[in-house]
Symmetry: C2
Subunit: 422 residues, 2 copies
């Protein structure tokens, strides 16, 4: 019978051990970001439906959950032309649209350069599949109000430090700039109206390889000239020599005529970051979201086939609800991807003991012992003695309990005899 | 313009100082509950609509937010007889219905006596008014699988310890038992079919006083006999002598014929709790929710006009989705009510410094200094030097920064001169 009762499709329950692991990882992320000068904020999980569907969320808008308006009559239902008319609010599908709304609401109370931490759940009505959830946690840091590369530098430094505190070292940071992609496509001869669609194909380079990308573009019946130019560029022997990161490497990896402002920004970034981590210039890094306007970056690890974090500059978006441009850069850590990679132990000073008792031990005795042990600094669990101790001991050990003692009606704090668990 | 952009009605943004306070309070609550042997779990924010509307949530069911089904066609809208048909999921309005579902799903993996911590947001479409929010945090602890008063004792002890760790001492715990209320109404002659409705009026005793309750009951045209009996009982001189808590006080405060099992449970509870806190037997404590089956309790503070925490035994509910009775007791702390009462300081060892710089200081210099100070254990914020320092310094002090130094292009860690803020 119990097997028929499940959480909603694509959503998860977290049992004690998994929840404790998630909270430990979140606590490290919070703490390192805070050390790097970021301040945590929180917004409601819902935003107005019109704001969620204002074109800032890309494909994610289509995956957003609508909240049914209150007090709808049957007439309202019958008059509706589209289900969306019945939703005045929706659940956030990312933390960036809410941040833009938050900034518009609270700008007057925020510093002129605002470094935000946001940690919270987002919801997307994805087709359920392995590793894709309909409710998952995002951890974002954003710097709003800083035009220069200092913003990118602080975000990247803080993110590398966070991953390192979680024991994830040896990451590579792939960097590119949206303006370089655009200028490169222009050099090859793709008309601006086709750029967004061509980038969707180039974004699949990791999966399709050079030949696959060219084939897909030809299948789509783009004019041959620009595709030939891209193919020739792919075939240049030096294309893959992205590292070491610096002006020479950047220029070598780009065609003549690439955007000079973007090159200068990347060079400044490389100089400021020094040897903070393994930086790689990747002229074909795209990052899905259409709102990026400048630098884009992604953290990968040699042993993993997916990125651990990613972000970029999106100067047009934060000001959207304010009616003006506001410079902004963001970095998002893939919490659900890293939480299982990390092994963090509970605090070493955490003494956790279990007290086994039979039904005949009065509650007053149990409470007195528990209170006494807590006062001595222990975490205490009372357990009624089962017939078979083994499963209980395994469960206690999994919850981090280290010692166990049996309590009788005349036990005192001094008389308890503890044995080690497991 | 900014003033027109707001979070959804009845919901709140949390700016850095407020968010930090909330996280500090949550962290104390988590830690004390964990010390008392409870394990934190998490469920999705949504549950199936049918489960949320299964009668377990009382009036809150009517306030629940429905999630619009995906892929609805215009025909679906026009065929619907009721808006609820268009929602397959809903946002949780409390943490108790999700706990019952969680227990049914995961029982096989949980200990036979399961002590749960749940900390999370819930949503209710309340009419917006001061102090009532449509999204707010609940902090619940529940013990599932324990029939005896030990469960009540552990919940009350843990809650009192939590409030005390938050600096809230001197609370009073009012205790009653649903079975006593029922037996008392039977003694006075109210028919069982009227009990629920009479209890709604008695629940207003604090607000209406004895005379107000009697008047409201007479206005509702109940038979005079039972009302006269209740009125006579109210007038007994000893009714208000609830303290000290013990068998004599309990019997004195009840009419002849009150439920003996409940009296025995309260006496056992009083004995086990000893002098843990100021216990008061209140024979007219009702607690709103209809699902309570035994002990009920509420924490009040002499200086506050509202309760800080409340709970009770609800043996019928957890087993609802499993098809059997499962003993359960829960205690919920009114997080939104206490978060503003508490003054917790940031960690004392937290050295937080700001580095002021002009535009001409290279990003590489700033990052090197920041990284160096972080390595020495400081929290570091970079700030571009504004014309007017005063507002910036006030903001920094509010965010917990204690010292500030000005950086130039040739600054080194050794050459920085810090001055105290504020």
């Amino acid at each position: 019978m119990a097997s028929q009762v499940n959480p909603p499709r694509g959503m998860r329950d977290f049992l004690p051990a998994e929840k404790a692991q998630r909270e430990r990882v979140l606590s490290v992320i919070r703490s390192v970001y805070s050390t790097h000068g970021f301040d945590e904020i929180e917004t409601p999980v819902m935003e107005e439906s019109a704001r969620l569907h204002s074109g800032l969320g890309g494909d994610n808008e289509k995956l957003s959950y609508g909240i049914l308006k209150r007090g709808l009559t049957t007439d309202d239902l019958h008059a509706a032309k589209d289900a969306l008319e019945l939703a005045d609010l929706g659940l956030r599908f990312d933390l960036t649209v809410p941040l833009a709304r938050f900034y518009a609401t609270n700008q007057a109370a925020l510093p002129s350069v605002f470094r935000a931490i946001q940690i919270g759940s987002v919801w997307r009505a994805e087709r359920p599949q392995k590793g894709r959830y309909r409710q998952f946690i995002q951890c974002d840091i954003d710097i709003i109000g800083e035009k220069g590369v200092l913003a990118e530098v602080e975000l990247i430094t803080a993110t590398v430090a966070t991953l390192s505190s979680l024991g994830i070292d040896g990451c590579t940071i792939r960097i590119n700039d949206r303006r370089l992609l655009t200028s490169m496509l222009t050099v090859f001869g793709f008309p601006p109206s086709e750029h967004a669609s061509v980038l969707i194909t180039i974004d699949k380079l990791d999966k399709l390889g050079h030949d696959g990308v060219i084939t897909e573009l030809r299948d789509r019946a783009y004019p041959a000239g620009p595709i030939d130019a891209l193919e020739a560029f792919f075939r240049r022997p030096q294309t893959m020599e992205f590292n070491p990161f610096g002006e020479r490497a950047i220029r070598k990896a780009l065609p003549e005529g690439a955007d000079e402002t973007a090159i200068a920004a990347l060079v400044a970034l490389a100089e400021a970051l020094g040897d903070v981590s393994s930086l790689v210039f990747d002229p074909f890094l795209v990052r899905g979201m259409g709102y990026y306007t400048g630098t884009i970056f992604e953290v990968t690890h040699p042993s993993l086939g997916y990125s651990l974090a990613g972000g970029g500059r999106y100067d047009g978006m934060i000001g959207r609800f304010l009616g003006g441009d506001v410079p902004a850069v963001g970095f998002s850590v893939g919490f659900e991807r890293i939480v299982d990679l990390v092994s963090l132990e509970g605090s070493a000073t955490d003494d956790a003991v279990a007290l086994l008792h039979d039904d005949d031990v009065p509650a007053s005795v149990l409470v007195a012992l528990k209170t006494g042990l807590i006062a001595q600094g222990s975490r205490v669990r009372l357990e009624r003695k089962p017939r078979n101790l083994k499963p209980l001991f395994a469960q206690l050990a999994a919850s981090g309990f280290q010692r166990v003692a049996t309590v009788t009606a005349d036990s005192t704090l001094e008389s308890l005899e503890f044995r080690d668990l497991g």
